[in-house]
C-alpha cells in the first residue's frame, strides 16, 4: 500500500467534519465521564484511554481550521498543529483501545456521540498510513479474496456438503428470486460451522425461501473496521451486486455484529444509494418467524443462562427485544446481565480489536468488565449472537478458568424445533 501521507490523512479528516462533529467538539468540558463508560479505561485505569482523548488530533484540526477563533490563533502562531508523529502516537489509542462499542456515546452529559467520531477519525488514520498491521492485512485479504481470513468458496462448499449430509436437507445456492440471501462470516464458517446447519434446519422448518450466493458469501466488512470508505464501498458493493443478480427481496446478516452495522447502516452511505432490498440480522428474522407463529419449538433449556448483547446489534442497531423473545421461547431459566441492552458492556474484541494482534493484551483487559458482569449473575452458560463476541467470550472465560460454555442463539433455537412430519 502506498500513497499515504500526513496531508492525505488531514484531508480525509477534513472531509469527515460535519455539523454533529463540530457541535460535539464545541461542547466537551473535559468532565471525563466517558472514561467511566469505557471498558478499556475501567479495566486499566489509564487516563489515556479516556474516549474523548482518543479524538484529540481530530479536535485540533477542527479547532484550527473550522473555527474562527482557531484560525485567528493560528494566524498569530498559537495552537498546536497535527503532525505525523502525533497521528503515530494516537494509532494505538484509536485502534487498540477502542472497539467502537459506543457506550461512551450513551453517557456523555453534553451528548457527544464519541463512537461516531472515532469511526470518522479512523479515515484519517488510514489515509495517513497509521492503521495497524493486522487490520491492513485483513482488509487486503478481504479485497483480494473476498474474505478477511482468505477463505474461499471451495472451503464453504465442503461445509455445505457436510451440512446437507447431516441434516438431510438441501442448502440452496444461487436460487433466483429467493426471499432471503443469506450471508456468512468467515469466522463463523471456521469456528462455528453449526450456524449454517442451524439456519438450514430453521428455514426448512419455517418454509422460508432462501439462498446462498457463490458470487458473495462474506458479510463482514474490514473497510468499516479499519476506517476506509473506499474499501467499505468495494466490499458492500459485492453484497449489493450478488443480491441484485439473484433478485432477492432481503439480505440476512449472520451472527456477527459489525457485519450487520456495515451492511445495514453504513453500506448504503458507502455506495451512495439506497438498496433495492432490505437488510436484517438473523435474530430479527428469527423473531419475525416466531411472531408469525412459524417457529414451533418443544422443550426448554433448563440450566441458568445469561446473554451477551453484541454492541453492534443492541446499542448501535436497536435489536434488543428480539433476542429476549427468542430466549423466552427456548430457555426456562434466563437471567439478564445487570447492565444489558443499550447499556451492555462490550466483550472487548469489536471494532477491529480482534484482528489487531498488537491489541491482544488490551483486548483481554477489557474483557474483565464482561467477566465481572458474568460473575454477578453466575450463569451456567452464556448465549450470544455474534461470532467475534462469542470467540472473545470463549477465550476470555478460558483465560480466567471459568467453566461457562458459550452458545449461539440461532443454534439453540434450531435444537428445539419440532420435527417436521415428512410428506
Amino acid at each position: 500500500m502506498s500513497g499515504f501521507s500526513l496531508e492525505r490523512g488531514l484531508q480525509a479528516l477534513r472531509e469527515e467534519m460535519d455539523a454533529p462533529v463540530a457541535s460535539f467538539f464545541s461542547s466537551c468540558v473535559h468532565c471525563g465521564l466517558c472514561a467511566q463508560a469505557c471498558p478499556f479505561f475501567v479495566e486499566t485505569g489509564d487516563p489515556k484511554y479516556t474516549p474523548i482523548h482518543k479524538l484529540e488530533p481530530m479536535r485540533l484540526l477542527w479547532e484550527r481550521e473550522f473555527t474562527l477563533w482557531g484560525r485567528l490563533k493560528h494566524l498569530v502562531g498559537l495552537g498546536r498543529k497535527v503532525t505525523d508523529d502525533m497521528l503515530a502516537q494516537w494509532e494505538p489509542l484509536l485502534y487498540d483501545s477502542c472497539s467502537m462499542c459506543g457506550r461512551c456515546s450513551l453517557v456523555c452529559p453534553v451528548g457527544n456521540d464519541i463512537a461516531y467520531m472515532i469511526r470518522k477519525a479512523r479515515e484519517g488514520m488510514v489515509a495517513s498510513g497509521h492503521a495497524p498491521e493486522g487490520l491492513i492485512a485483513a482488509s487486503v485479504r478481504a479485497v483480494n479474496t473476498g474474505s478477511p481470513m482468505g477463505l474461499q468458496w471451495k472451503t464453504l462448499e465442503v461445509q455445505i456438503k457436510h451440512v446437507e449430509t447431516s441434516s438431510g436437507l438441501e442448502v440452496p445456492i444461487d436460487r433466483q428470486g429467493a426471499d432471503y440471501l443469506v450471508l456468512l462470516s468467515s469466522m463463523e464458517i471456521i469456528n462455528f460451522p453449526e450456524y449454517l446447519e442451524a439456519i438450514t434446519r430453521i428455514f426448512d422448518h419455517a418454509g422460508v425461501s432462501w439462498t446462498l450466493s457463490r458470487q458473495c458469501f462474506e458479510a463482514t466488512n474490514a473497510g468499516i473496521q479499519i476506517g476506509s470508505k473506499d474499501i467499505a464501498a468495494t466490499l458492500v458493493q459485492r453484497v449489493v451486486d450478488a443480491a441484485e443478480a439473484l433478485g432477492v427481496k432481503n439480505v440476512i446478516s449472520p451472527e456477527c455484529g459489525h457485519a450487520y452495522t456495515a451492511i445495514r447502516w453504513e453500506g448504503p452511505n458507502a455506495i451512495g444509494r439506497s438498496y433495492p432490498f432490505r437488510v436484517f440480522h438473523i435474530i430479527e428474522v428469527l423473531d419475525q418467524l416466531r411472531a408469525e407463529g412459524r417457529l414451533r419449538t418443544e422443550g426448554k433449556e433448563m440450566d441458568r443462562l445469561s446473554m451477551h448483547d453484541p454492541c453492534n446489534l443492541a446499542r448501535k442497531s436497536g435489536v434488543i427485544d428480539q433476542q429476549r423473545h427468542l430466549m423466552d421461547l427456548v430457555a426456562d431459566n434466563f437471567v439478564d446481565l445487570k447492565e444489558h441492552g443499550k447499556f451492555q458492556w462490550c466483550c472487548g474484541a469489536g471494532g477491529g480489536v480482534s484482528s489487531n494482534e498488537r491489541a491482544e493484551a488490551l483486548k483481554m483487559a477489557a474483557f474483565k468488565r464482561k467477566k465481572a458482569q458474568i460473575e454477578e449473575v453466575e450463569p451456567e452458560r452464556m448465549v450470544t449472537m455474534c461470532a467475534t463476541c462469542r470467540t472473545q467470550l470463549e477465550e476470555g472465560l478460558e483465560e480466567f478458568n471459568m467453566d461457562i460454555p458459550v452458545v449461539g442463539l440461532t443454534e439453540m433455537i434450531a435444537d428445539h424445533l419440532v420435527e417436521k412430519e415428512r410428506a
Binding site: A19, P20, S26, W265, G272, S274, I320
Partner: protein, 220 residues
C-alpha cells in the same frame, strides 16, 4: 482618577454594551460555524425517527444512567448542584431579573433574596469542590488544559463577587458591584471563545446524538 461610582457607571454602561455585543455575535458565529458544516444524506433505511428521540436525549442527559451514577456519584451530584445553583442565582435573583428585563424586555418572578443567597453559597462550595476534583481525579487532571482552569475562574468569579457585593464584604459598595458586573462581562466575552459555549452547543450536540441513535431505533 476614576471614582468607584465612575467605575460602576462604566461597567453598567459602555462596557456592558460591548460585552453583550461580543457575546451575541460570538455565539452566532459559533452556531453558524457548526450548522454550516451540515450533514451528509443518509441512505440507510431508518428504524426510527430523529426529531423526537433527539429532543428526548436533550432532556435525558440531565439524568445520568444508573451505572454512570454509581461509578461517578461525585461528578453527578456536585456537577448538577452547582449548575442548578448558578442558573438559579443568574436568572432568579431579583436585581438580575431587572437587568434582563431592561436588556431584552423579558421578565419573570424572582426568588426571595435569602433563598438566592443560600443557593449562591452552595454554588460557591460546589465550584470549589469541582475544582479540587479536577485537580485530583486522575482522568480529569489528565484531560485538563489551561483553558479548563481559566473557564473555572471565569465562572467562579461572578458568583464570588456577587456574594461579596450582596453581603457588603468590600467597600465602597459601587466598587464591589462594579467588580461583580465586570466579572460577569468577562464571562460573557470569554464564553463564545471557550468551551463555555457548551451552554448553547450541548443542546445541539445532544440533539444530534439522540437523532443518530433514534434513527437506528435506540433512545440514547
Amino acid at each position: 482618577m476614576m471614582s468607584s461610582m465612575d467605575f460602576l457607571l462604566f461597567t453598567k454602561g459602555p462596557l456592558f454594551q460591548v460585552a453583550i455585543a461580543i457575546f451575541v455575535l460570538g455565539i452566532l458565529i459559533r452556531l453558524v460555524e457548526i450548522f454550516a458544516l451540515g450533514r451528509s444524506r443518509n441512505f440507510a433505511e431508518p428504524r426510527g425517527g430523529q426529531v423526537i428521540p433527539g429532543l428526548k436525549t436533550v432532556y435525558k442527559r440531565f439524568n445520568p444512567d444508573p451505572g454512570t451514577f454509581r461509578r461517578a456519584p461525585f461528578d453527578v451530584v456536585v456537577g448538577t448542584v452547582w449548575h442548578i445553583g448558578f442558573i438559579v442565582a443568574l436568572l432568579l435573583f431579583i436585581p438580575h431579573v431587572e437587568v434582563i428585563k431592561a436588556t431584552v424586555g423579558l421578565a419573570w418572578p424572582g426568588l426571595p433574596n435569602p433563598v438566592v443567597d443560600a443557593v449562591t453559597a452552595i454554588t460557591l462550595l460546589g465550584l470549589i469542590a469541582a475544582l479540587i476534583h479536577r485537580l485530583t481525579h486522575p482522568v480529569k487532571r489528565f484531560l485538563s488544559t489551561p483553558e479548563d482552569y481559566v473557564i473555572w475562574a471565569v465562572t467562579f468569579l461572578p458568583v464570588l463577587t456577587g456574594y461579596i457585593a450582596y453581603h457588603r464584604l468590600v467597600n465602597p459598595y459601587p466598587l464591589a458591584l462594579g467588580v461583580h458586573i465586570l466579572t460577569a462581562e468577562i464571562f460573557l466575552i470569554v464564553l463564545p471563545f471557550t468551551k463555555l459555549t457548551h451552554i448553547f452547543t450541548a443542546v445541539v450536540a445532544r440533539w444530534f446524538n439522540g437523532a443518530n441513535f433514534g434513527r437506528k431505533g435506540v433512545q440514547s
